[in-house]
Symmetry: C2
Subunit: 338 residues, 2 copies
């Protein structure tokens, strides 16, 4: 992309843009900072699809009435190791931020803790949640259903969401080990991009409405995405439906899509986060074993393979100085919404 | 396989064969019942590779001195939600059985609990552990490293184990939802079978010792297996290394292989099991939401897709009457060991 096709914003300008767009469209004051923080993190890490681009989703979801703009999250302590946060129909970020100190405290107290977020609207990646926990020295796992866009392996029609799974491991001297991926073969947005470009999609991404493999992006969007990794990815996707759905008293992806009722808003439902404190298992030996885990990372990078999130962390060191390059058309669209 | 190529044993005869072989090769009395129970479960469910066939591994591991035949597991309670069981170099089954009631008790007390098994020799599938927990109404997750046979995505040499991940969800009126799969593209035994049959293997299973894709089984065994699902499977495999390795103070797959030192014994190291009680999150509403999860299973089977483990459960209903068909050559080999 040439420089004239893009606008370069400082992180402070990204923040200003987010605040302005979100406030103008009626998002409650308490939500503006946490939602903005997620979007800034996306731009900062050059995850274009999770940066200011997502403001379009936020605005659409706000306009559709499918998010409660001034929802007040309520924390419910179930036990020494469990809590739920009722997001009360609001965006997930404030609910997560509200529950986070309690989750950390419980994980530190008993070694393992889980937080269910209920009735939240989720439009972002999971790694911001993961990194909030690895930053506190905890091992973290998170997942959430979405809308029913994905067929189970061997099936013919959408049932699962794109159901991301994310994991993080704190590293003593550097970026954490973090992955965050959809259990669908690709992101739905990737197929949308092919459709807009009039390009065929690879076999293995989707099936059409009759359940047949297709390379036609339009037909694929009308049919269903496939899971990654065949029946194994499908099994993992079902696990996400269960543990971030009924286990915490919340919706499956099919129920979320039914709730959406054609509004094309962001998915609505639950999220499950599990945090484990290495000190819980290891006490004073935790630092030694966490250090020993470094041999695994050395074994990966030493043979030329990459650690997940490596590109994000490299961007994170660059953008505070270099700024964030945003497609001009997107910037103009957002400026008009600000 | 024709009837003359096989021998049909009742489950009681399978038990007798296991007892006899294991006792003859010096396995301690306390270990014989739990190890036998795992092998019977494999035969009963017609998982040939996890049935009496595994007695050959057991015997080899016993002969190699890589398992402590009379190890006495020791339970260590770290917190209300965590415990470790030191298998003291013995097979994993007795350690799991020893820790199980404590894991269940902790999961019921705080809603979520984790058990690390340390210094165990693991030769079996994970679903017996999973089903012990779903049978008590708990949601269960388990994983374990193995020997370093699998290359990370984008890499050229073995680092990860075949690192299985298993999950279970209790169902009120029937078989639990259970999956248990290797994070490698295939089981190592599958490649071994191709090698013995002189058949090529599909691309995507292995790389050769130079890190190049290969369809030659021999070259693949000398090189490395690949993970399932590309970089996503690779990320999951790394997660297993971390959470069932250093997190519980135990070995990675590379360390396990180094410990083996050419003995070709079963992998040695740790296993992590997490149990979650739906009642912890949901209290009196648990039964209602567990029932609601049934709509997900109906959504899978209703479109002609299969639930994982379905074939195992079907076999389980058949074999108590019909018996277990075992290849005659294998039976004769085992009878000579009995």
């Amino acid at each position: 992309m040439s420089a004239t096709d893009t606008v370069t914003l400082t992180l402070a300008q990204v923040e200003e843009l987010c605040h302005s767009v979100l406030r103008r469209h009626g998002l409650g004051e308490a939500h503006i900072a946490p939602v903005t923080a997620t979007i800034i993190a996306g731009e900062r890490d050059e995850c274009a699809s999770h940066g200011v681009y997502r403001l379009l989703n936020c605005v659409h979801t706000l306009k559709s009435g499918k998010v409660v703009p001034d929802a007040v999250p309520v924390v419910d302590h179930m036990s020494m190791s469990l809590l739920r946060v009722d997001a009360a129909g609001g965006f997930a970020q404030l609910a997560f931020a509200t529950g986070l100190p309690h989750l950390v405290e419980k994980a530190q107290a008993t070694g393992i803790a889980a937080m269910g977020i209920n009735r939240c609207v989720h439009f972002a990646a999971l790694w911001p949640e993961i990194e909030a926990l690895t930053g506190r020295g905890l091992v973290a796992f998170a997942c959430t259903p979405s809308h029913a866009w994905v067929a189970p392996a061997g099936g013919t029609s959408p049932l699962f969401g794109t159901n991301p799974i994310a994991f993080g491991w704190p590293r003593p001297d550097g970026d954490p080990f973090v992955f965050d991926f959809a259990t669908s073969a690709v992101a739905r947005g990737e197929i949308e991009l092919h459709r807009r470009a009039g390009k065929p999609i690879p076999l293995g991404w989707t099936i059409d409405a009759q359940g047949n493999p297709t390379t036609d992006a339009e037909a694929g969007l009308a049919g269903a995405l496939l899971t990654f990794g065949g029946h194994k990815g499908s099994a993992l996707s079902a696990m996400v439906e269960l543990i971030a759905g009924p286990l915490i008293g919340d919706m499956t992806s099919a129920e979320s899509l039914a709730h959406d009722d054609g509004a094309k808003a962001s998915p609505y439902g639950g999220e499950l986060i599990i945090a484990i404190d290495p000190i819980g298992f290891l006490g004073g030996a935790a630092a030694e074993h966490v250090q020993r885990a470094e041999s695994l990372f050395d074994g990966i990078t030493g043979q030329g393979a990459r650690l997940p999130s490596r590109r994000r962390f490299a961007a994170r060191r660059r953008t505070p100085e270099a700024g964030c390059r945003i497609p001009r058309t997107l910037y103009e669209e957002l400026a008009a919404l600000a």
